[in-house]
Amino acid sequence: MNHSEHPVQRVRVTSPRVRRPRPPRRTGIAEIDRQSRVGEIYMASLLRAQLRLAVVVLAALAATVGMLPLVFLGFPGLNDILILGMPLPWVVLAFGIYPVLVALGWVFVRAAERNEQAFADMVERS
């Protein structure tokens, strides 16, 4: 074959373009910055997760510490239990509540940071 006389025009063969070109994919960050509908959904999901967590922790506070006045009123028998000469309700109010508060706070901080990490992973993915 004589290649030098008729150099063959080379053509790149690719698959046929049957679909519309994809719009450039935006990250969640870009969507939020544009304040698009998608961005709104990203933000709403973060807010809902954090608010649900807050409500759960506050409900736990109300169900434990918040119920104590009613418990003391409803069960006067608790007063007969003495610890170091002091009635049980006194001891609970003076010393017992603080560990519960710190524990609730610890659970909240961990869960809130997890929610934020999940949000960051979601919006940084493209």
């Binding site: 960050i29 939020i32 910055d33 304040q35 709104e40 933000m43 973060l46 807010l47 954090q50 608010l51 967590l53 807050a54 922790v57 506050l58 506070l61 510490v65 918040g66 006045p69 009613l70 003391f72 009123l73 006067p76 007063n79 003495l82 170091l84 000469g85 002091m86 009635p87 309700p89 006194w90 109010l93 003076a94 010393f95 509540i97 603080y98 560990p99 508060l101 710190v102 609730l104 706070g105 610890w106 909240f108 901080v109 809130a112 940071e113 934020e116 990490q117 949000f119 960051a120 919006v123 940084e124």
Partner: protein, 505 residues
């Protein structure tokens, strides 16, 4: 009671406070340093500082005094003051830091894009700050009188003078060191004497404090140890109203909020708050010990109306000689640390707002701040000299009720509810502020009331807080066309972690 050691203790605390304040001066260079320590304070140092600032005369003296005089029901005060931090952590800590504002009025203005809301918030910050400073100065006067026999105004003036000097020289940065130092001083000042007092008590045969019959009105003998059994009616209402004021009021205290802006980011703000919770819990188990022992060893304080002084008097009464004097001097030092730290924090918060709103218009940044500090301290000092007779912890309780009825709804709705409008916020602040303000003025004026009127006015939070929330929500829903345009961007700033590179407006 020997005075020499206790006076030296007061002098040492004052000098140490001034020395640490001056040492901090080397770091303070810009207006930003003065306001928020240029936002570089680490969580653990910051948590100690918050604890030091928060544990006021009401915590150090007032709680033990109230529990001594009125019994177990009063234990809800320290519980509420700690739980208030949990509510603050859960609802506002990180968003408040991320809002990027210096003060509560800054937050209000940025969120609602309204100068009017800013102005009303400023007035409320000053009002709450003064209401809270007043009992600090009163407590200082009482404490110094107990120690030296000086007239009541001397102690208040001393504390006011030290605060002004400290603010003049260092602003917030040096105050951060002072406050952190004072938390540990206060903890030591209650912990060490309590240890010795308990040893004495056990040596005396460990008589149960509930056995003490003291023959005073109010909770007697065994009933003293029991909550919910006092013969006072409406006790369930009063307890829940107190819970509402303290749980929700903490987030609205101006000196608490300004501390959050010193955290580097929202995550650090949360961690700081958690450490604060633990520090407060460690501290608040101690005052009840003094109250219970005071029932046995100092019951005459109840009859003489000086129960607020039980923490100062108890060591010298239970331990004779040099040891008792030394321990009393230690608790006196702690008490003055409490007066100084809380007053400094409040003065800075009030001065910050005053200088931004009023003096800052004419004067350069730092000068305006100093003038404002002078005014911010002088007014409550005069008020403290004019009014008296309300117990320290109760007066502070009223400040909490006002904060819970005004800034709590503003912060919670501002952070979590995008439909809040400026008109709604103004209406809510007005309703909450006026209703709780009326109750405060009535209580401070010492008017004698009975029955439900007395209960509703002495502990107003249970009805003023819901009224403020309902007004704020209702009026906002009616004025949806005034919803601020930048609210979407602002919520992005409040709730997204700083590491994500978003446009935060």
């Amino acid at each position: 009671m020997s005075t020499g050691l206790s006076i030296s203790a007061v002098v040492v605390v004052v000098l140490a406070t001034l020395a640490i304040g001056t040492w901090g001066l080397r770091f303070s260079r810009t207006t930003s340093d003065f306001f928020v320590a240029s936002r570089t304070v680490r969580p653990r140092l910051n948590a100690s500082a918050i604890g030091g600032e928060y544990l006021s005369a009401a915590s150090f003296l007032g709680v033990a005094g109230l529990v001594l005089a009125y019994g177990a029901e009063m234990l809800w005060y320290p519980v509420g003051w700690t739980a208030g931090y949990l509510v603050l952590l859960v609802l506002v800590a990180a968003p408040l830091r991320r809002s990027g504002a210096y003060t509560l009025p800054d937050f209000a203005e940025t969120r609602l894009e309204s100068r009017a809301v800013r102005l009303v918030s400023s007035l409320l910050v000053v009002a709450i700050g003064w209401l809270y400073l007043m009992p600090q100065f009163q407590g200082a006067g009482l404490a110094l009188r107990t120690v030296t026999g000086s007239p009541p105004w001397v102690g208040g003036l001393l504390v006011a003078a030290v605060v002004v000097i400290n603010v003049f020289t260092g602003g917030m940065r040096s105050v951060t060191f002072v406050q952190a130092f004072q938390y540990w001083l206060k903890l030591t000042a209650l912990l060490v004497p309590a240890f010795f007092l308990l040893l004495i008590w056990i040596g005396d045969g460990a008589t149960p404090p509930t056995a003490a019959e003291t023959g005073v009105s109010g909770a007697l003998g065994s009933a003293w140890g029991l909550p919910m059994t006092s013969d006072q009616p409406y006790v369930l209402y009063t307890t829940y109203s107190l819970i509402m004021a303290t749980f929700l009021g903490t987030m609205g205290l101006p000196h608490v909020v300004v501390r959050f802006y010193t955290n580097p980011d929202g995550r650090a703000a949360r961690r700081t708050t958690l450490v604060v919770l633990a520090l407060l819990g460690c501290f608040y188990v101690l005052p009840p010990v003094y109250a219970a022992l005071g029932r046995l060893y100092a019951p005459d304080l109840i009859t003489s109306g000086h129960s607020d002084m039980v923490v100062l008097e108890l060591p010298a009464r239970m331990i004779s000689g040099y040891g008792g004097e030394l321990l009393s001097a230690l608790t006196t030092a702690g008490a003055f640390a409490a007066f100084l730290s809380t007053s400094s924090g409040l003065s800075i918060a009030v001065a910050g707002v005053l200088s931004q709103e009023f003096t800052g218009r004419r004067l350069a940044g730092v000068t305006a701040f100093r003038i404002a500090a002078l005014v911010g301290v002088a007014v409550p000092l005069v008020l403290a000299l004019l009014t008296s007779g309300v117990s320290v912890a109760r007066a502070v309780g009223l400040a909490f009720a006002v904060a819970a009825s005004t800034f709590c709804p503003l912060l919670v709705l501002g952070i979590w509810w995008r439909r809040l409008t400026d008109v709604g916020a103004l209406a809510g602040l007005a309703v909450g502020g006026v209703l709780s303000g009326v109750a405060v003025v009535d209580t401070l004026s010492g008017a004698e009331r009975t029955g439900w009127t007395d209960a509703l006015l002495a502990q107003p939070a249970a009805w003023t807080v819901p009224a403020a929330f309902v007004t704020m929500i209702g009026v906002s829903l009616l004025t949806q066309r005034r919803r601020p345009v930048g609210v979407g961007r602002f919520l992005v700033r409040l709730h997204t972690p700083e590491a994500v590179p978003l446009d935060r407006g």
